[in-house]
């Protein structure tokens, strides 16, 4: 076989070399060490803001009439952005959603799951695999400077090192004290007495004890003021990185906050913004910042009364509010640097959190309903195109990679299965996506604006909810609509390529069939 290597080996660096010839830059592209790219000053920056565990109904822009918390900064961003009415992550929770986000390849339906040391045990929790593309790697090859700031314990942990290696600027923060066991364990946990004011009696013998001790111990050393809370640390590092990146336009920056993840410990002034101590906090002085045993508890099991649940919601609202304030500071900084009109800003989240709905606090795969799957998603175009508009496309986190590449003029690898949402700004429609499909643990879910379907991946416990008449998804109507149950089940197995994988009990052995 003749060698096919007759092209200019170094003509253009990487597959993302759009338009270089057009702007007359290819002349300098012959230097082996100087990647010639198309990006120069012509393509916009992409700034991705991602927050964990964020429910859409707690963001004012998605719930203007029933505002649960003031989110003036995200609302303002929403006014400037194209927002998606119903965005559902392609796979949940944190780990698989991050994989979909960073690779642009769906994690659904977790067919390649194997139990992995250093990550939680459960379907979907695997690192980014060697053969998968990483958005920052593709951008880097195309000559884009990339930065990522996060306190997400998985992304800063041992299993996502391959992602961090693709970055020019990495700003990991280890400030999630309660989750340090996933990367560098914290050696000086607080004494048991120090956590009594956070520990629900029903959890007094659970693993949450250790987590809270770790968190309180960490905070007692490293947290002096509001600026030291994890969200603040991440956003501050983001602001610092922007200062470095602004000279290197175009750049890609990810600001990925683990909060408002539990424990729900926003600064006190935020906690009391939405009400004061009530329920167990008023009676026993216990602030329910960790109201469940991860990943979820039944409300009756942890004996939360209505007042306490109300307080838990306030604490969650406080986290959202704090996060919103810091996103506001980031936006202000971008505005000061005049970057805001040269950058595409994408904001989204990976999943929600159940706060007493369906008798659950936490996140439960078989109850991955509206409070879990509906997340905010918006894109701010640098020119303000489609500002304040709504789109009913079921946008998802795996679309972000291809969309970012497209905005920057880089070619997306064919393996990336997300859609390019940037076409919407040109009045085009992305290829149809008539239903959303997702999965959480060993459960698969599908739906649209009318129906919501959830089942476990072996096909048991198929449930169907009429979202039009039952928006809170309380009444299972599967037995009245066998045709729809069949339809959504078919949609899910089609999306999975024909069959859905089955998992051993709680994922202990990985995929066992399908």
């Amino acid at each position: 076989m003749a060698s096919g290597n007759r092209f200019t080996r170094r003509g253009l660096f990487g597959a993302g070399a759009a338009g270089a010839a057009a702007v007359g830059m290819s002349a300098c592209g012959d230097d082996y060490f100087e990647p010639a790219t198309s990006h120069g000053k012509d393509s916009p920056n992409v700034i991705l803001i991602f927050t964990d565990s964020t429910r859409a109904d707690y963001i004012g822009h998605w719930n203007p009439d029933g505002r649960l918390v003031d989110t003036p900064n995200l609302d303002a961003l929403g006014q400037d952005s194209l927002a998606f009415k119903l965005s559902v992550p392609e796979a949940m929770p944190t780990g698989p959603a991050r994989r979909g986000l960073l690779t642009g390849v769906r994690s659904f339906p977790f067919r390649n799951y194997v139990p992995t040391k250093g990550l939680p045990l459960g379907p979907g929790w695997i690192p980014i695999l060697d053969h998968q593309p990483i958005v920052t790697e593709v951008l880097g090859e195309a000559g884009v400077e990339t930065g990522y700031c996060t306190d997400n314990p998985f992304l800063v942990g041992p299993r996502f090192a391959n992602f961090r290696r693709t970055l020019d600027f990495v700003r990991p923060s280890y400030s999630q004290g309660a989750y340090r066991f996933l990367n560098k364990p914290f050696k000086r946990p607080a004494p048991r007495s120090a956590i009594e004011r956070y520990l629900l009696p029903e959890l007094s013998d659970s693993v949450e004890v250790g987590r809270l001790r770790s968190m309180v111990g960490w905070n007692s050393i490293y947290r002096d003021s509001d600026r030291d809370y994890p969200t603040a640390r991440v956003v501050r590092s983001g602001i610092n990185v922007v200062d470095d990146l602004k000279k290197k336009s175009p750049f890609f920056l990810g600001v990925d906050c683990f909060d408002p993840h539990e424990p729900l410990d926003a600064p006190r002034v935020f906690q009391n913004k939405f009400g004061g101590p009530k329920g167990i906090e008023a009676e026993k002085g216990i602030t329910p910042i960790q109201p469940f045993e991860t990943p979820y508890s039944w409300v009756i099991d942890v004996e939360l009364d209505d007042e306490t649940i109300e307080r838990v919601r306030e604490l969650y609202a406080a986290e959202i509010s704090f996060m919103d304030e810091w996103i506001g500071r980031l936006m202000t900084r971008l505005d000061d640097l005049k970057l805001i009109d040269e950058s595409v800003i994408i904001y989204s989240s990976d999943h929600g959190l159940t706060l007493g709905e369906h008798g659950i606090v936490g996140k439960h795969g078989s109850r991955a309903q509206w409070h879990i799957y509906h997340v905010p998603f918006m894109i701010r175009h640098p020119e303000g195109k489609l500002a304040g508009q709504w789109d009913d496309y079921f946008a998802s986190n795996h679309d972000i990679a291809r969309t970012a590449l497209s905005f920057m003029g880089a070619r997306a690898p064919g393996m990336m299965t997300g859609e390019d949402l940037s076409v919407i700004f040109d009045g085009k429609r992305p290829p149809p996506r008539p239903h959303f499909t997702s999965c959480y643990d060993d459960h698969v879910l599908a739906g649209d604006y009318d129906w919501f379907f959830i089942a476990d991946s072996a096909g048991f416990r198929k449930r169907l909810y009429d979202k039009k008449n039952d928006p809170k998804e309380l009444v299972d109507v599967a037995d009245q609509h066998p045709d729809l149950v069949e339809k959504y089940w078919r949609i899910l197995s089609d999306e999975a390529g024909g069959t859905l994988p089955q998992f051993s009990r709680h994922g202990g052995k990985g995929v066992i069939g399908g």
């Binding site: 003509g11 010839a21 012509d42 053969h131 066991f181 040269e342 003029g409 070619r411 064919g414």
Partner: protein, 513 residues
């Protein structure tokens, strides 16, 4: 300037041409390319049925067939030397061609009435994107000429028939099945290409067009082609499940010669028809010419279409892209291009957004001066026919069944000096290499390979109708405990979130018994 135009055509990518940060954005934004100026006027896709690359002189010197038109075209085209269809036989190769999605590993196979019980024999499913549908929706004049019976229905509005009727009784044996199948395909090619000529004349004045000329013998949809193996071969190799396609036949060398002669006639006839078609092709048209799949011509004791043989020549297809500006003409590429790359590439040439579900690569990058080394990595070529999977890299070739019961591995590089000849099965001698290649197939399949029953890929068991799965009298209670089997060793601890050892203790080891 042609290069400039093409280099701006991204997979829906923002082209960012011109100057000025924001000013450029408006015009540069991605799909403004959709039928804007940054596109080629038209794309012609031609499928050469059952043509092996080694029968085209421009691909392998000393080819037995005379293919002057293909040789001439190759000089003007970018040639892909190692192209293998991502799956076989004819029907599933077509599906990948028009959907841009891999059909391998046939996870979505369901047996349909009238179709053989062989994995991969299914139509384009509703959820799959369709090349012709995308082009039509974008206002591209679209004509696709084929007798493929599954290309039918509202989504295939632009499909034209050359008018063959199918017979599912294809017989068996060299004289009853194999040689007549060449004859049928030759006739089919003649009819289809003639219609293709007419189609090209029709679209001559179109603003933008896509024409597909895809000769297909309808019998290939309704019956899986048998392949013939000398009895000794079967005993030596072990073949694993062959979906009933294998026929033991002690054919003689004379039989092989007859088949080869008939096959050369077929290839030469196809080349002849292609020449007539090419006369009609305007110069500013992108020309995409490829084979659908190959066949074994008696090598290593195998004979027949899409046979799981031991060497690459029976798999490799001609694969050519002629750029209207003559870019890269006469160049060759080793990258493992395949049938599922066709749809994304065609869409990109036409300046259209590529649906995310298409997982093939956009090969127009090669005309934008992107080196083949900088294309997304594809280190192995993986294809499948029925239950058999064929994996190869630059040196080795593995034929395996999906349960990995029978795996054969061959050294397919004759230029390496060693004492392994091409037909030695060395699977037991290099288990590491065997595993590496097997894992590559598993990875591309998404982690697991499907198992097949007689009526489709096996699905998880159906719901039994009672939501009270644990039989504790409370339906839909999502009780994680299985009350039927309380002593199955699963405790509440096992069912909880794991990997949480706050004091930094050892993480749980992976596989708990």
């Amino acid at each position: 300037m042609s290069l400039t135009r093409r280099s701006l055509l991204r997979r829906g990518g923002a082209t960012a041409a011109g100057a000025g940060v924001i000013g450029a954005l408006a015009s540069a934004a991605p799909a403004s390319a959709q039928l804007g100026d940054d596109r080629e006027a038209g794309v012609l896709l031609v499928v050469l049925p059952l043509v092996r690359a080694d029968h085209v002189d421009a691909f392998e010197g000393g080819a037995p067939a005379k293919t002057p038109n293909l040789n001439e075209l190759t000089k003007k085209s970018l040639r892909f030397d190692r192209a293998v269809p991502e799956s076989m036989a004819a029907l599933s190769a077509r599906r990948a061609l028009v959907t841009g999605m891999r059909a391998f590993p046939f996870r979505d196979w369901r047996r349909l009435e009238g179709f053989p019980s062989v994995p991969g024999f299914n139509p384009v499913w509703d959820y799959q994107p369709l090349l012709m549908e995308v082009t039509r929706a974008a206002g591209v004049e679209t004509i696709y000429v084929t007798d493929n019976p599954v290309f039918d229905g509202p989504r295939f509005a632009g499909v034209r028939r050359a008018g063959s009727s199918a017979s599912s009784d294809i017989g068996s044996g060299i004289d009853d099945e194999l040689i007549p199948s060449f004859k049928r395909l030759t006739d089919e090619t003649r009819r289809t290409m003639q219609l293709g000529v007419r189609a090209l004349r029709e679209v001559k004045n179109a603003r933008s067009f896509f024409v597909g000329v895809d000769p297909f013998d309808p019998a290939d949809a309704y019956a899986a082609p048998p392949f013939y193996v000398r009895p000794g071969r079967v005993e030596d190799d072990g073949l694993g499940p062959t979906d009933g396609r294998m026929v033991e036949l002690n054919f003689s060398d004379g039989d092989i010669d007859r088949v080869r002669a008939a096959y050369v006639n077929h290839v030469e006839a196809v080349d002849d028809e292609l020449g007539k078609l090419l006369d009609e092709v305007p110069d500013d048209t992108v020309l995409f010419v490829l084979g659908d799949h190959g066949l074994a011509l008696g090598e290593h004791g195998y004979l027949g279409r899409a046979a799981p043989t031991s060497h690459r020549l029976s798999y490799e297809i001609p694969y050519l892209i002629r750029h209207p500006g003559g870019e890269k003409s006469g160049d060759d590429v080793d990258w493992y291009a395949s049938t599922h790359d066709v749809a994304p590439t065609v869409l990109s040439f036409l300046g259209l957004n590529i649906p995310g579900k298409m997982d093939g690569e956009d090969l127009t990058a090669l005309f934008d001066d992107v080196d083949q080394e900088d294309l997304p990595d594809r280190p192995k070529s993986i294809t499948a026919v029925g239950s058999q999977i064929i994996i190869r890299d630059r040196r080795w070739l593995v034929v395996a069944d999906r349960e990995r019961i029978v795996r054969r591995m061959y050294d397919d590089d004759e230029e390496v000096e060693d004492d392994i000849t091409r037909y030695d099965n060395i699977a037991n001698e290099d288990p590491g290499k065997l595993t590496e290649l097997s894992v590559a197939a598993l990875t591309v399949a998404g982690g697991t390979l499907p198992e097949f029953g007689p009526d489709g890929a096996l699905r998880p068991p159906r719901e039994h109708g009672d939501d009270d799965t644990d039989d504790d009298g409370i339906p839909n209670d999502f009780d994680p405990f299985d009350n039927d089997h309380p002593e199955d060793g699963v405790t509440k601890k096992d069912l909880q979130f794991d990997g949480r050892y706050p004091e930094g203790g050892e993480l749980p080891s992976v596989a708990k018994p």
